[in-house]
Every structure is written in structure tokens, then in C-alpha cells.
Symmetry: D2
Subunit: 361 residues, 4 copies
Amino acid sequence: MSGNSFGRSFVVSTFGESHGPALGCVVDGCPPGLPLTEADLQVDIDRRRTGVSQFVSQRKESDQVRILSGVFEGVTTGTPIGLLIENTDARARDYDKLRDRFRPGHADYTYQQKYGMRDHRGGGRSSARETVMRVAAGAIARKYLATRLGVTISGYVGQVGKIILAPVDPAAAYDNAFFSPDPSRVPELEEYVWNLRSAGDSVGAKVTVVAKGVPTGLGEPVFDRLDADLAHAMMGINAVKAVEIGDGVAAAAQRGSEHRDEMTPTGFLSNHSGGILGGISSGQDVIVHLTLKPTSSIQVPGRTIDLSGAPVGVVTTGRHDPCVGLRATPIAEAMLALTLMDHYLRNRAQNADVKSQTPAI
Amino acid sequence: MSGNSFGRSFVVSTFGESHGPALGCVVDGCPPGLPLTEADLQVDIDRRRTGVSQFVSQRKESDQVRILSGVFEGVTTGTPIGLLIENTDARARDYDKLRDRFRPGHADYTYQQKYGMRDHRGGGRSSARETVMRVAAGAIARKYLATRLGVTISGYVGQVGKIILAPVDPAAAYDNAFFSPDPSRVPELEEYVWNLRSAGDSVGAKVTVVAKGVPTGLGEPVFDRLDADLAHAMMGINAVKAVEIGDGVAAAAQRGSEHRDEMTPTGFLSNHSGGILGGISSGQDVIVHLTLKPTSSIQVPGRTIDLSGAPVGVVTTGRHDPCVGLRATPIAEAMLALTLMDHYLRNRAQNADVKSQTPAI
Amino acid sequence: MSGNSFGRSFVVSTFGESHGPALGCVVDGCPPGLPLTEADLQVDIDRRRTGVSQFVSQRKESDQVRILSGVFEGVTTGTPIGLLIENTDARARDYDKLRDRFRPGHADYTYQQKYGMRDHRGGGRSSARETVMRVAAGAIARKYLATRLGVTISGYVGQVGKIILAPVDPAAAYDNAFFSPDPSRVPELEEYVWNLRSAGDSVGAKVTVVAKGVPTGLGEPVFDRLDADLAHAMMGINAVKAVEIGDGVAAAAQRGSEHRDEMTPTGFLSNHSGGILGGISSGQDVIVHLTLKPTSSIQVPGRTIDLSGAPVGVVTTGRHDPCVGLRATPIAEAMLALTLMDHYLRNRAQNADVKSQTPAI
Amino acid sequence: MSGNSFGRSFVVSTFGESHGPALGCVVDGCPPGLPLTEADLQVDIDRRRTGVSQFVSQRKESDQVRILSGVFEGVTTGTPIGLLIENTDARARDYDKLRDRFRPGHADYTYQQKYGMRDHRGGGRSSARETVMRVAAGAIARKYLATRLGVTISGYVGQVGKIILAPVDPAAAYDNAFFSPDPSRVPELEEYVWNLRSAGDSVGAKVTVVAKGVPTGLGEPVFDRLDADLAHAMMGINAVKAVEIGDGVAAAAQRGSEHRDEMTPTGFLSNHSGGILGGISSGQDVIVHLTLKPTSSIQVPGRTIDLSGAPVGVVTTGRHDPCVGLRATPIAEAMLALTLMDHYLRNRAQNADVKSQTPAI
């Protein structure tokens, strides 16, 4: 009800603030028998870490995750998995100036009005730091999907501000600092983001995530279609302002004879749909695009109000990402993994023994 | 779990197929004391009806809704509200040819694979006919929001295929056949859609919905942010491929100093955010855009497979909309109303007695 | 949230008042492929009907159920099943005297205080008439459990007031008017209840329900144990004041060496536990006892207050059961079926492919 | 879905095993602005601790709780509250003998069959150690209920084996080792339990919990009645076999004219109902009784099977309670607090602005 749990069958409940003692979560519903170690989670956690390049926030967190339950002798037991990461590089004092005023474009004002108060240190719960637990939990889903179902998940940054990045080599996005699918343009991105940081400004971005090998039949119409739940998952990531499935906004200008993906016994002839038809996975690649706004934690002075409602100016210091989209790729991958995992289990509840007379194409 | 309920506090559970005996729903959680008649619901139901112009499906359903419970002496009682609409103009035989084959770009194939079978008549549960109950239930939410909170909801079609419609007069969209915010361009739209229908093809569209007067504080971070739940609601409408909040995809190219909405004691200086910050309503207009794909129920012959997986051709006859986006406006308005209503009640559970020291701006 | 849905995977959402136009429900999550007709539901509906003997309420409802969706060509499709029963023998005027006063021991006062108003006609939503939809939905679960899993469900009345009925022939309870497991005592019960009715009074009862053939592994610790969810299901039936599993209240006086059910390769040596260990079904018979209070709709004058809070007297006329426990057997059987069905699907979501090295005993 | 969350609006999700590194939980939905410290939680945690007398398990855990989030400057913020207790006195080797065999009457066998494996150390997740987190979370609810609504919750042990304890002085139960409401009988209980322990056997018990000052209107008919959710809460505590509300099983033998609680402008004339009518709180004391079975972790040899299904004997060593009912009082109090808190928020969502014309009595 209060929004800190994700999923119905594979349920992740998270807690923790940017500058509190720790972040943690409970993962309930994981099938038993999955080999799982902390190292399995650490890979993705490290991919979203801050402080690893000069193009992201300079906060240095080791982000070492501990598994506190639900795993016995290296294997999941079916009981809830508790995860914990302690905060070690919190610097609350950086935020003293924000205690009594609201950054425009930020959650400061709305948290204040909703709850009557807020933890102003680093944005408290509204900080992107919260997403570390999504990545940790997502790694469990990802391992299950990969090892049991052969589903692989990947992502890349397709746009940074005005720079459009073609998916020349999507696999290369895995390990460059910009998650760029075109590694040849990394120097250009470095200069671009460096200039932004120098100007104290920020910029938006686009991220694409793709799942290959998704079984047919995932998604629960009419309300919890796979695309609807993916939209919920992705729009629930900090700073996301748009979610597109397959051709997305381009579909508005298409004709039916152009958009529909024709079918043959050996497969679909195109993938405009992004792998989802009628809210149910078709067996094609599931393709999701998200647009992230430029963060409002910038050093360009702006007009705002204070706690009493009086007009004041604001400049955000502290350690921030000039482009939050850059670190969004592993987070979006995690949300894709969590959504698919949840729907795999949900579908199994109702349809575990369904056999269709039609062969999968 | 199986996806036919929407909401947590104001919960709508729907049933019914395109060519079954009836469509219905249960609305659970409506506050007591709201004056409610069938006429209140009929207004919006009639706005999404088929058969009312030559530019939409020619199926003639009277769509008369009955309230079966939850209202006593003209007022809601707090118990669940049962709604029912009988199907009267079903023509199942139109679909005999689709019994053994799948329309490309349609839910036919995925329903078959998920459930091992399907009601092929008019798409069964995957038909847009299902949305009539969303509109009926949405009308209850809408009445509550309007009469108790002063929230008004409206919508319009912003794009039909290549034609972009500027919001010259959004109010005019309420009662023209194209929900066009620029009534002067209706003749152009008529010709465009008429030509499409003649060609047996279809086209995509964009729809915008706006809520004015939304109280501050709606939305439950971190997963059930207001924007995340709106994305879920809108992407769950048939044919929707993209959901944008505020500036949406345009935010990717913006700078932080451009996107952020500065604040003054008398209000925000812009609304790039679409009325939502940190997943919580800010008090500004909530603005959502959705992109609908062109329907795949077209008469242009296409390649597909049959139940046994063999290659066949397909042409969709039956009665269809050349642009499903045209009738999507009242549906999207309903989903906006349902989402806001649900979040109003959800927020009240936790925060009913919150008072912020900061005045609303 | 507002309490009119039951289950997580096999979800029943009901609506309807005692003297409104109709009662109905949506059953979401039923596996596809189950042959289902209205006649399948009617059997149990008829077992709980009023007006069939002089020992129950004299209201004459035909209780003909209609399936409005989710079944195509005689088989469930996996989409939600809509059910409807119209009220035909409502006599609202019988209740005019109760409009302004509260029956002691009844829901009248608490509905008024919770919702600020109430439908006073026959108790509105609080009437046992509401349970007809539980029985209808339960019949679907029952059919699935019986035909797919070999689970059979039965029940009987074990006590009526001071009369204790030994389970001499539990099968005989299926079709005598008192659901008595000792048919030889039916004449005694007839006289007892007839005298009660003459005195305008009512009496409590105990009902036992049993499920045989339940698979091992149903129940979700730690909170949604099978016994916990059965307690929720049974205590949620009108007038129930106690729920016991297996030995129930007698366990307080037992020793561990007496209560524990020892195990051998060919089975358990006793069943004190009622078929549930650690909240999970053990494969033994699941045994649940419920105690129902005497209804407060009696003709013995009583003291109460009216809408304004002033003291008044009250006598309940209208048509009522002198012992609501008598018709509770099919309702409790239905709730047992719904709970097991829901847990069967829930367990399948997480554990569909679990294989234990230990053979079932 | 997998059962480790409790509540809908005030939601507690727990994790942790008896002999794992730690136990923890997330409490989501707590209203903001509640002063809260670790000391507030520690009081009740300490009341359920082991090792404090010779009549309970001798495991020595300090049970120091840490608040990891959701509290800022001593006050709840509305964001999720993370709680953690590290295990410090686990002795996994005590359980080596149980690795390959199942204690009769215990969850060992059913966990094995459900999940295909189990953490055998101290019962793993099925251990009563899990309840420490319920008590911690319950203390938050309890503080809110007490300070905001004036609701007080208390409990006592009403029966230990054959010994029935009259509520001579219920308040005295708060701080004697047996939670006995008749302190004069503590020496008798000491002898009784001491003899049991010496015999290596265990015994059942009854516990009563009472909430005073509960507002009218809590409970969500028809399925989530307050009594139904209390039954779910209490039957979900380890070893509970029966839940009774008010007169409970005694109601079976009562007449309507005897059971109904007559009403006057100054209050009810009796409380047979246990404070709940039609599933909704009436404003009277809410009274719940639970029966706990004797634990099966005893030293009396018993027959069972091993992992391969072969017959073996078993004797449980390790540190156990001879009467698990003794420590159940604070756990049942916690579950009562959690249920009331959840329903207070749930009711507020739908009915926050309801005003009844009838004065509360």
C-alpha cells in the first residue's frame, strides 16, 4: 500500500535512506534450490556503483551486500532472502543548506507536503541510492532467469542529451563507463559530460533494455499486462519520464499494415511490438526504452521557496551525477529481471500445466 | 494475481468477453455517502460507444449500465458496487474464419499460447470492448474526485497518424467525433480516416489526458509512485505502446536548468514535470500522454500461421475501428480517474492527519 | 483493502445485498481447460438454499446462477468468470421497523458507525444471503480439486445447542436437512429446532469440514500458513466465533508426547494436528471445526438504541433461521475449497518444480 | 504470496532463520510523526526473550534491535522502517542429529516436502525465534495505538495443561514469568513446568489477549472482518490450534436471547461478542483466546522417518520451551496490535470522513 514492495509472486520489499545506517530488502517467493552467493549479487551492484569514474557521483560506497537469510549451504531454501548494505560514506553535513529549502524539480517539496516532514540528507528515501537494493534483488531474478530459463538481459544508453548513440555493439555497453553501445563515441561522451559537470548542470538520457529468450505467455491481462507492469517498473525508477515498448512513440504515425509483425512457422518477420502482444510475451525479444530527465541537483542557481513558503534561492552542492541516466542501465536491467521473474511465477500459478496445440515459433 | 483487478484501495475487478453474454465489474472501496445514479455512469460510457459515427466500429451496442449493489436510496453505502452491461449486438459468426488462425499483431497467438485455448469471437477478453467497464467504474471515481476534491479530468487526441493536432481548444475535444482539440481540423481528419477505412488499413494515434486540481501528496514511493501507477494504468489499455509524463521523451535532450520547474510562493514557473515530483503529485496539472499503435484488425492481407503452426494468409473482417486511438480518450480519462482515486484513498490511509508547515503553492 | 475479495491466486470478489437486485462475483485466476457448467455450481447452491424445510428461513429464492464470462464452449478459458444470481423474493417492507433501530448482537450498529449509513433491508450486505456467492465460487474450486487432484470435501453439523452429534455416518450429512452425521437423531433435532422457532429464539452450533486427499506442501509460512488462512476463511463466515484445527481447544490440556502424530513409512499414526504442520499440509485429512453463535434476529424482545441513540425495544420479524449453523455446512465447505484451491495455485507459483527426496507417506 | 508479509496498509515483511546470521523486517505504511526509539521496541522484545527463567528455552540471545531506516531525528518519517536483530547464541551443532530425520508433530517433514529441502538448524524459518520480529514490529503499532488512539493491549495465560488460571488480576500477568493472571498460583505453575521439563515432555496452553479503547468501525466485511483477520493473525503464530472471539466455542450451546449483547445509551449490557459485530469493532473490548499445542520438540522418544523415508526413532535435544504457550503472550499481543493498526489505516482509507448521526455508546 505504501509503495515499498514490488511484485506479487516474487516480492521485493526495500528500506533505507541515502544517509541512514543501511539499505536492505526482503525477497519473498524465490523458488528453492537456486545456488546463490553474495558474489552473484555483487557483480550488478558494482556496475551501478558511484565513485568509479569522474562522470558519476563521487560518493565512495563499497556497497558490500550481505545475505542474512533464505540461503542454506549455498542454495536458496524458499524462505525469504534478507539483504543488507551498510552506508559507509554518508556525509550528511553536505546537505545542511537544504534542510529548510526545496530543490526545484526534486522530491523535496512533495515529500514535505505528503508526510509533513522529510529526511533532507541526500534526499533521504527519494535518493537514487535506494536503487542499490533493486539491483541486488534483481540479480537473484536474473540468475534464476538465466540458469533455469535461458533468459538473458542487457541494456545500453541510447541517448545522452543531444547525442544519439546507435546500437553498433550493444554488448560493449556492458563495461564502459557510459554504457554506450557505440564504444567509439566514448571520448565524445567524456568531453560532453565533463563540460556539463564543469557548468554545474545536468542532462537527460535514454536507456534501452532487452530480454532475449523470454518464454511465451508471461503477462496477466487485462490490467497487469506484461507491458503495463514493465511500465510500472520502469516509471518507478528515479527520474524516468517516459516508457516505450518496441516502437513506442513512433507507432502513432504508423499504419497497421506496417506495424503488425507477420508470422511464419519459423518466426516473426519483424518486432515492432517489442515482444508483447495483448499484454502477453510472444517469445520475441522484449524491448523497453526509458527516458530519464536531467537531475535537478545542479549548481546553477534557481528560485524556490523555503519551509515557511518564503522565496529563496538554491544551489545544490553535495556529490551528484551530471547525468543520472548513465547509471540507470543496471537499474533498468534489474527492474526488467524482477518483472519477468514475477510474471514467470504468476503465470505458473494459473497455467503451470497448459499445453497449446500450436508450436512456439 | 491474474490481472483483472485494478487498484489497491479503490479496486475495480472486471469480467466479460466481446461476444459473451455480458460485461461487468465490482468496485470495492468506494467511500460511502456519494450520490450515484446509473445516469452518472452513462455519460462517459456513451462517449466511448461504438456505432456513433462512421469513423469508428459499426457495432451497435446500447451499453446500458445497471447498478446492482452498493447504492441505497441514491447514495453509495461503502459496500461493493456491482455493475453490469449486457451484450446485445454480438455477431460471433463474423469471426468464424479466425477460429483457426492468428491475426498478426494481435493477442490471438499469445492468448493461445498462454492459456492453451482462446475465445476467438471478436478477440474474446482481449477486445477493446472490455474497456467499457473501466469507463463505467472510472465515472464513479470521476464523480468523487470532482464533487469532493474539485479535480477535473479531460483529454484529447493529439495525433492521428501523421496529423499533429495542437491543443488550440482542448475543451472542444469533449464532444467532437475525433476528440480533436482543434475542431477546425475535423474535416481533414474525417477525410483521412475515411480513406484509411476504404484502404482497409489502420493508423496509430496519440492521446493526452490532464487532471486539474489534484491535491499534493498522491503517490507512494518508491515503487508505486503516482507516475509509475499511471504508466501501469495507461500501458494496460489496449494498443498503448508508450506512456509519457509531462515532457516525456523530450526530457532526454533537456538540461537540468531547463527542465526543473522553479518555485515561488505563488506557484511553479513551469510544468515540465507533468505535475509529479519524486513520484508524488505536486499540485500542478497532472499531464499524461499515451501512444496507441494502429490496430492489427485490418483488411490488408497478411502472413500468419494457423493453430497447427502451418503458414496461412489472413484478412480481418468484422467491425473494427480504423484508429483505436479515437475512442481511447474516455478510456484514458477513466484510467486517470481510477488511479488518482486509488491514490487519494491510499494516501489517506497512511497520512490522513498530516499537516505540513509549508503552505501549498 | 475493503474486504470483498478472497484469495491471492484464485481470487473471488463478491457484491450484492440481501434485498438489492442481485448478487454476483468475479472469479479470477481459474486455470483454463476445466469443463464447467451452471449445473456444476447449482448443486452446492441448492444445498444452502432457504425455504427448503421448515427449519430454515422461509424466504423462497430460486437461486439460479448464470455464468457470464470465462467459459467458452463448456470449458474455462483462464479469463475471469463472472457469476450472477438475481434476487426474486426480497420483501424489503418486512424490515421497515428496523430502519431506525439496531438489533442487539447484529451488524446493524457497527455498519452504521463505520459507514455513517446502512441498507437496513434484511441486513443489507451483512446478511447471510451474501454467502450464496461464496458457495457458487467454491463449487468451481471444488470441481477443480476433485477432478484434477482427487481432493474431496465434506462437512457436517456436530452440535446444535446442547445436542452433540457424533460422526456416526458423516456421509449421510450430505443430504439431510440438518446436515447431521447421525441421521438417527434427525427427529430429535426437528423437535428441538421446532420448539426454538416457536419460542422465537435461536441457538448456536458447531460445524466440521474435512478435506481428504490434500497434497503435501500447501500453506505459506510464516503468516499465510494454511491453518491461518483457513481461520481467516472460516471466521469470515457470518456468526462464526471460533475456529479449531484438528484437536483445537483440546490441545491446551495435552502433552507433547500425546499430541504429536508419529510417522511411519506407511503413514501417520494419528491426526491430532488436523493435517497441518508448521502451517503446511502434511497429506493427512485437513480437519476444521467452527462454532457459530445463535443469530440475533429473534422475536424475544430486547433492549437497544435507535439512530439518535435513544433507548428503544426491538423484536425482529422477517424470515430468519432459528439456527444459522444448519445452513453453514455448504458455506464452510466452499470456504475450505476456496482456501485449498488458492493455496494450490500459490504453492505452484513458487514451487512448481520442487521434488523432494523423501517419499510422501 | 509466499506468506512473509502481514497486513495491507501497515505491512510487516519479515525474514530470518533460527540459526542464520540475523532476523529482520520492513514495516511499511507507518504514519509519519510518531516519536520512536529502539527502547520503545526493546520492552516487548525483552518480554518474549528466552533464557530469562528456568521455565523457558535456555538459549541466551540479547535480542538488541536496531532501527535502520524510517526514523529521522527520533520521529517516523513515513518511509519504511527497517529493523534488525543479529543472532548471537546460535548453536547449530545441537541439531546435527535432526539433519536427516523429521520430528513428529513438527514442521520438519512439511518444509522438506514443500521446498524439497530445509534448514534443519533449530527448525530454520519454522522456529518460534521468527516471532521476535513480530514483537518488534508490533511494538510500533502498539505505540501508535496507545498514544494516538488510547488503545491499550494486554494478555495473559489462562491455562497451562490441566491448570486453569482465572483472571483474578490480569494486570499482574505483565511481569511474572508465567504471564499468569493469578499470581498466587505461580508456585504451582513452577512445580508443574519443572516436572514437565524433567520428564522431557511438553504441554499445551491457552492465552487471552484484550484490546481496550478500540474505535468503532474497524474491520472490512465480508472477507476481511476484524475477527477473520484476527483469526488469521493468531492462527499464524507457531503452535496455535484454535482461535476464539468473545465467548468462542461456548457460543454453540447458547441461545440468541442469551448471547446477544443488549444496548443502552450508556453502553452494552454484556460482551459475549468479544467486541466485534458483523466483523466490525463495536467499541467494546476486543477479546481473543488462542490455544497452543504442546511443542513436539521433546525428549520422549518417538517414531518417525528419515529423509529416505525409512523408519527411525527421534529424541529432540537442543534448547526448547516445555510450554511454548508461556512466551506466546507478548507475541499474541503484538499480532493483536498489528491487526488493529492495519485495520485502523484500512478503515481510514475508505471512511476517513464518515460521520454517523448515532452517538457512540
